[in-house]
Amino acid sequence: MNTNTATQATPRKNAFLLFIHKLGSPPWFYDFSGKLIPWLWLAFALLAAWGLYLGLVKGPADYLQGESVRIMYIHVPSAWMSMLIYTSNGHHGLHRAGLAHPHHGSAGDEQRPGGRRLHAGRAGHRFTLGGPTWGTYWVWDARLTSELVLLFLYLGVMGLYSAIDEPRKAARAACLLALVGLVNLPIIHFSVKWWNTLHQPNSISITGGSSIDPSMLWPLLIMAVAVKFYYAANLLTRTRVRLLEQDLRKGWVRDVAREKAK
């Protein structure tokens, strides 16, 4: 920490710190992210195409779950992603409370719709995956239940955000709630897990200590990385829109609009 402040004080900044500080300027961020987004989409498209090809075309069907195992290649990566988004959302909340980097708050606000969409998608997959493979559409098993509670937490944060009219206040309130949720997340997760062993000693588990074959693992990992790129592109796009709305009356937005009109 000390070295950081020392470098900030001297006129010669190191390149990385300079980059971080530049990101704090809305026009610079807008410009930079605009250049970055196509590359993110490209990376997503290539990786997703590769992962889906390996998973859907080349990969084997599961001997137990049949062809429907292929839902896993979308389902599991988005499940991982939504967990990560909630954690990082709480992290943005923490920054908002602490050092207020101008984009942390807006990025946090823009994260949640993505997280919720992935989450809702996940619930949909559950039903389609659950039907043919487990013989039931819903079980109160540990993972499904803790994800359901996580979905409620998401909905709560977003509900609060949309209920408050003033954007800045809404963002601060939602960030505080996300932070409270983040503190509670491990407690909720483990208590639900433990609740499950308490009430249903032999419930259905889709992992059940089974090991995964490399022919299925690779497409899964590739898809996990692809979803991260998708999310990054999505988040940056939303943040750019948010910045334009936030700085509606400032000169650089007028310049952007003029350029677009040309």
């Binding site: 509670v149 409620f152 709560g156 609060l160 209920a163 309130a173 505080l176 709630l177 609740w195």
Partner: protein
């Protein structure tokens, strides 16, 4: 705080402010005695709906009793939570608290303590009756009361964060339940597990230990979060 005061006097004035606020709120609550009864009546009505909806079989009722009583307690708490800061927010007293120089965390803690005395403690006192009503075995009755005694303050503490965030909204009540119920999940799980373990004559002290840990954690952290939430709502 007043910087001119010596440390001892400052602490005394803090304690004084805390108890003055608790006394004021208790007095206000007792001036409206019928309103005081609402959460209790609500609890009775909700619990009596279960035998009507499920059937009067004593075994079945005994089985679901811990869950039913606890869920009813959650609902009764959330319903009473809205009153926690409502009148102080509407008549501007809350703003006076903020500029009074006393830490808002302390004021939040005093309000939460009063809320528990007014809305949580009656549930605890009523619970033996409810347990008998639901045919809960007598062995687990004491544990039921203990879990409520340890658990209802946690409900008030966590709930106060949600109230702080939604107080400035016109219709905050519905949103409040969405905000706090997911956070109540661990308490519900641990408390009902304790009662069920006692009913099956299994060891249950570990659950009470977990609830105590939850109580200590929420007493230390929740008032700060509530104070931060109130500051956001007042801004």
């Amino acid at each position: 705080m007043n910087p001119g005061l010596p440390a001892g006097a400052a602490a005394a004035s803090l304690r004084g402010a805390f108890f003055a606020l608790v006394r004021r709120d208790l007095l206000l609550a007792f001036r409206r005695r019928t309103e005081l009864l609402f959460p209790v009546i609500f609890l009775l009505v909700v619990i009596s709906l279960f035998p009507l909806g499920i059937g009067p079989s004593p075994q079945l009722l005994a089985r679901i009793a811990p869950g039913v009583i606890w869920i009813a307690a959650l609902l009764a708490t959330v319903i009473s939570l809205d009153a926690l800061f409502r009148s102080d927010f509407e008549d501007g007293t809350l703003e006076q608290f903020v500029i009074s120089g006393h830490p808002l965390t302390l004021i939040a803690l005093a309000k939460i303590a009063t809320h528990w005395l007014v809305a949580g403690l009656p549930i605890v006192l009523l619970s033996p009756l409810l347990a008998l009503w639901m045919n809960l075995p007598l062995e687990s009755l004491g544990v039921m009361v203990l879990t409520l005694l340890l658990g209802t303050p946690i409900l008030s503490l966590i709930g106060s964060i949600g109230v702080g965030l939604t107080i400035s909204l016109k219709r905050g009540g519905q949103l409040l339940s969405l905000l706090v119920f997911p956070l109540y999940v661990p308490i519900l799980i641990i408390a009902t597990a304790a009662v069920m373990a006692a009913a099956d004559s299994l060891p249950f002290t570990q659950f009470l230990g977990l609830l105590t840990a939850g109580l200590i954690t929420s007493v230390t952290l929740a008032p700060f979060a509530t104070a931060a939430a109130l500051k956001i709502s007042l801004s």
